[in-house]
Symmetry: C2
DNA sequence: GTGCTAAGTCAACGATGGTTTACATCACAT
DNA sequence: ATGTGATGTAAACCATCGTTGACTTAGCAC
């Protein structure tokens, strides 16, 4: 088969389709408000395949979180300087660069109530905040700086949520350029190295 | 009946009980993840009374939002100075002063999908941000300052969500005193009058 | 006390949720 | 070409959801 074509039956491809649809719906509407049939329809796939490939709705959600964790690990590791973080976040929020990895931040705010999923989510958030604190030059193990990094992270996530969630202008239709300045100010104020 | 006693049948009282339980559960777990039976049980009240007093689960949610809107109107109106806002928010987040009006901020992040409820929620958020922008001395109608006020609001709400949602330390068990400094920095950086 | 209405209870309804089961069909090795 | 396991489909299952209607009981006027 040539490059663009797809086999009509391809487990890996279906898995990807389900993951993409699930992440989008979980991120946008939350775990409880999202139906497995919603996800399957959006993916153009039969509902029963969710159980087959991910065991359960919870399993699919965990897989989404793991996906975000992996992508986020790559993203932030390459951000050696703290200066880059605000721009990265502004870009992520604006949805410009999000074609590749959309809804990353949003998903980190979504709770399913499941123990294992919460562990994964918490792990991602913690390591994210720790890397920010480290990049800011705060001494490792310094609670005050870590707290500030976590607050900065909370701010970014809150921003993501309100932008996706409300039509509050001018916030809702602000572009990357509009967001960058305030976000930089926010990070500079919270983190020493910023 | 003496002071502390209650009648066993008191419509106004049961309405209050339902509102209190509903606000807590909606705020903590979101709209979709909250069951009318959960609310009724926590309120110690029969499920059917939700339909009687609030017509529907949606109606109860709207009533919760309206309640928060009223309380928040009073709270922020008396905050003549912007300096007071960070302290008020820190206190609200810490749950100290929240005995009276708990879960106010959190509920503003919860979406039910219902049109009318979303209108109410958006209205509260907008007027909140506008008052903050005004208190910061930004000229009325200035989009840049309003945007920054909305970003500050998003930050506060994100903080509320992560604190109620995760066990990420040291954020999760930070006290009002620990939060106040960073929040002040955040507001000062975002708003001109701060 | 007696009756009447407001307040609360109980059980069921239809709808929808996640999941499973039995079956059909495709892809590939032989 | 053909059999076999992987992949996808269709339908149903059972629990739970929000909601409703018929019934009981408390509170209060008279």
């Amino acid at each position: 088969m040539t490059a663009g074509e797809q086999r009509r039956r391809d487990a890996a491809s279906t898995r990807r389709l389900l993951l993409r649809a699930a992440r989008r719906r979980f991120a946008q509407h939350g775990y409880a408000a999202t139906t497995v049939r919603d996800i399957a329809d959006e993916a153009g796939v039969n509902v029963a395949l969710i159980s087959r490939y991910f065991a359960s709705k919870e399993g699919l959600f965990e897989a989404c979180l793991r996906g975000v964790g992996d992508e986020l690990g790559d993203t932030v590791r390459s951000d050696v300087g703290l200066d880059q973080v605000p721009r990265t976040i502004a870009r992520q929020l604006s949805g410009q660069h999000a074609g590749e990895h959309p809804d990353q931040l949003l998903l980190l705010l979504r709770s399913s109530g499941d123990e294992r999923a919460e562990q994964i989510r918490l792990g991602i958030l913690r390591s994210f905040a720790e890397r920010m604190a480290a990049a800011a030059g705060g001494p490792a193990g310094d609670d005050a700086h870590l707290l500030r990094a976590q607050i900065a992270l909370s701010a970014a996530l809150g921003l993501a949520l309100l932008r996706s969630n409300t039509t509050m202008e001018p916030l809702a239709s602000a572009r990357e350029d509009d967001l960058l300045g305030p976000i930089e100010d926010l990070f500079h104020a919270l983190l020493p190295g910023g």
